[in-house]
């Protein structure tokens, strides 16, 4: 069983992290397009996995039967399935794999829910260490302002309603996200995430990302995609 940092694959793994409204998905989408145009075999690894695990997760959320511990373990199961059946085979094949959220999301979220910090880190120690993990740093207020327009209703667990922080989902979401930011800030130095100032113009952030990614792809074998 290979641990974090012990895997050696020809492919490259780039992940984005940050709270909702940080703009990380937008940036990853732009990176994806560019990499494909450059001729790299690029795969976007979806945050959902085999139907079976996903069904259990969905059921648990819908019926609100998840505790912090079962929330943590069902998501770890889901992530393990993606690692074993998706991420690892793709990296072995030499692909450039992109992930919107990775283990650091679980580190932040589960610890805010009261799980032991070391326990969660060890739980996910089977994960492949990303080539680069970008962290989109943004003040809470700015992210909330961005979300206020586009959002239609926050889900129960997304707002951290299970923590009983507030009976108002909007307020609960704000407190919850604030705590998530605090956890992220501990993770950034510990796991050497690459911070990106998410208040900068979109093009500036994207240019920074491309520069960093390109430097890591220079020595990579280019996986030719059939035209």
């Amino acid at each position: 069983m290979k641990r974090y940092g012990e895997h050696r694959f020809p492919g490259k793994l780039f992940v984005v992290e940050g709270i909702d409204g940080s703009g990380k998905s937008t940036q990853l989408g732009l990176l994806h397009q560019w990499l494909q145009a450059e001729g790299y075999g690029t795969v976007f690894s979806e945050w959902n996995s085999s139907l079976l695990v996903r069904d259990t997760t969905k059921r648990g959320k819908k019926k609100r039967m998840l505790t912090p511990a079962s929330f943590s373990l069902i998501h770890a199961t889901d992530f393990a399935d993606r690692t074993e059946h998706n991420i690892i085979p793709l990296l072995k094949a030499g692909a450039v794999v992109l992930c919107d959220r990775y283990i650091y999301t679980a580190f932040a979220r589960d610890v805010v829910r009261g799980m032991d910090r070391q326990w969660v880190r060890e739980l996910y120690s089977f994960a492949v260490k990303p080539t680069v993990a970008f962290y989109f740093r943004i003040p809470l207020e700015v992210a909330l302002n961005r979300l206020r327009n586009g959002r239609n209703g926050i889900k129960f667990y997304e707002a951290g309603m299970d923590l009983g922080l507030s009976s108002d989902s909007e307020e609960s979401f704000e407190i919850f996200q604030g705590r998530i930011i605090e956890e992220y800030e501990k993770i950034v130095p510990e796991y050497e995430l690459t911070p990106v100032d998410a208040t900068l113009p979109i093009e500036v952030q994207q240019a920074q990302m491309r520069q960093i990614v390109l430097a890591r792809l220079a020595q990579a074998k280019r996986l030719r995609v059939a035209p």
């Binding site: 085999s50 259990t56 059921r59 505790t67 373990l73 393990a80 059946h85």
Partner: protein
Amino acid sequence: MRETYGSVLPGMNLEDLSGKLIVIEGTDGVGRSTQINLLKPWLEQQGRAVLDTGMTRSDLAGKGIKQAKEGHTLGRITLSLFYATDFVDRLEKQIVPALRAGFVVLTDRYIYSLMARAMVRGVDAPWLRNVYSFALKPDAMFYLRISVDDLIPRVVFSRGFDYWESGMDLHPSEDMYESFRKYQTALLAQFDRLAEEYSFTVIDATPDIPTVFGQLKEAVSRVLGPPEAAPAVVERKAAAAAASSVPPRGVASDGDAAA
């Protein structure tokens, strides 16, 4: 106060878990469920309330695991974590509330079987110990021990060789018999190792059902002590009513561990 193997889950109060947690461990086909089906009514006749639980019986993940195993599609770490999810759901929603209500909890397998099966599949022992470090330490672990040679006829003449119980996912051999033998030998070696590490009480499961049951009754009695005597007739009736299979769900709703 009750102990865990390390970490404590958020919201879990380890005080006042006055019931008894009794684990029956052993490999596939050794007769664990047969013995539990005998132990439960025997304990209930003594006026004790009993909850029996076992793998894949959680509300949350039981069905998902069964379906996933039919497709033979899950990786070894995924399968381990799916079982851990099932386990934590039962721990929080069934086992802890029952212990708080003073039940005897009989569990068909515990974390040890899950660890043994995962280790045979190449999953790290330290990683597994961390995953399950929130598990409560039981009051007793009875390990029904048998040799592969004695196990094989039992399985052949009852339900036959099963895909997973033969470790076919590990492809040890094309032949189901060869696979079963190899896989169960490896599994028993892991069980023996765990028996030492966690100080299981070993029960020889080779003899017939009544003999094994006799040994188990004696061992369980030692753990539970004599049933408390009821001073008045009225109270004895009440105890008997309480003992007649109180459904675990009802317990869960008023237990504070469900928080």
